[in-house]
Symmetry: C2
Subunit: 234 residues, 2 copies
Amino acid sequence: MRKKLRREKLVEIDLESGATLKSKAVILATGARWREMNVPGEQEYRGKGVAYCPHCDGPLFKGKRVAVIGGGNSGIEAAIDLAGIVEHVTVLEFSDTLRADAVLQRKAASMKNITIIKMAQTTEVRGDGNKVIGLTYKDRTRNELFDLDVAGIFVQIGLVPNTEWLKGDMELSRFGEIEVNSHGETNIPGVFAAGDVTNVPYKQIIIAMGHGSTAALGAFDYLIRSSVEDEAAA
Amino acid sequence: MRKKLRREKLVEIDLESGATLKSKAVILATGARWREMNVPGEQEYRGKGVAYCPHCDGPLFKGKRVAVIGGGNSGIEAAIDLAGIVEHVTVLEFSDTLRADAVLQRKAASMKNITIIKMAQTTEVRGDGNKVIGLTYKDRTRNELFDLDVAGIFVQIGLVPNTEWLKGDMELSRFGEIEVNSHGETNIPGVFAAGDVTNVPYKQIIIAMGHGSTAALGAFDYLIRSSVEDEAAA
């Protein structure tokens, strides 16, 4: 839908339709998307056992067995968080090592209801037609398939900011997030950003809402200051 | 109610009652209060014409005449903001100079419905029993009293963080605000802060709500990491 952003006298955004939006100030809030496993059953059971936010959906699985996909910081944090609520957590990590911080790995190892399986590639989400009943994974060492019976599957293999269209146009973090300061300002004057698309530490709706307000007030500050400069220059 | 905060093995907070609260992690959210004029009528007409937040209450005075008390950045920003909504804004500044940024002063000077009166000390809020009908101010140069008929009075002479009890215990900004990073962390391990009491740029409820979530997640990160260290040290 959108294609390119640049700063001329105004901020200009080219759309794929051929149209160009022009504005004195712009707030980018294009969000982010969870990286998906892309296996059969994932889309079908999304919201029916396949989940992406442990803080949000963890309580729905109280007393049940769940799996966490991914052994990075977010995966191991999710496992620790969930272990306090659910009966048991199995973490499936694709490679032969966890990428999570050592302190998180030690914490997870100290919890009796967390099992970590490495070299495990999820190949299918299994359900009963209404909800998740388990998953199938391939043991990549032995090249064999195994079934794991779980009620919930938390996919924690990354959050992808929707900034592909901005690459080269503005400063992005190494994760592709828009870098903002405490006023929601980006590196381009008049361009602000808010929410999950930015390098804000935690991705939660209420946090994004607050940052939307911050970016709006930042843009207001910018406009009441810059309009005078424009008039002075004119 | 609270008296002193210190970090021992746990974070400890002494209360005036003599009790001591102890916790692994603490989130400080004691807020801030608007600095008041302390003149007759101010309390009586608070919420009935006496207001403190132009973004919030400005629209209530659409088409009416209002006063802004204070010629600092927040006062002049309020005047510029309000001038787009109300019929006319009079800014009353106590001293003989405005402290607001020059660019804001130029912007305010360029707007036809803003009048700025310096050396003006508000002495009374006048009302009809139900709502504000005006104010009285002293011209400090001539030492004479004048009446100004306005429907709204926006008091913009500062926001005071509720941190008097923390002075000397932790790092505060020159305005007395608790300094936090993007994870809501203060300079004391295990002590987090959120909302208007911190050095966050804009004071709005939705922003404080988001930062409450950030501080809670920051504390969660801290706890799942520190508990392992405690166990390792034990």
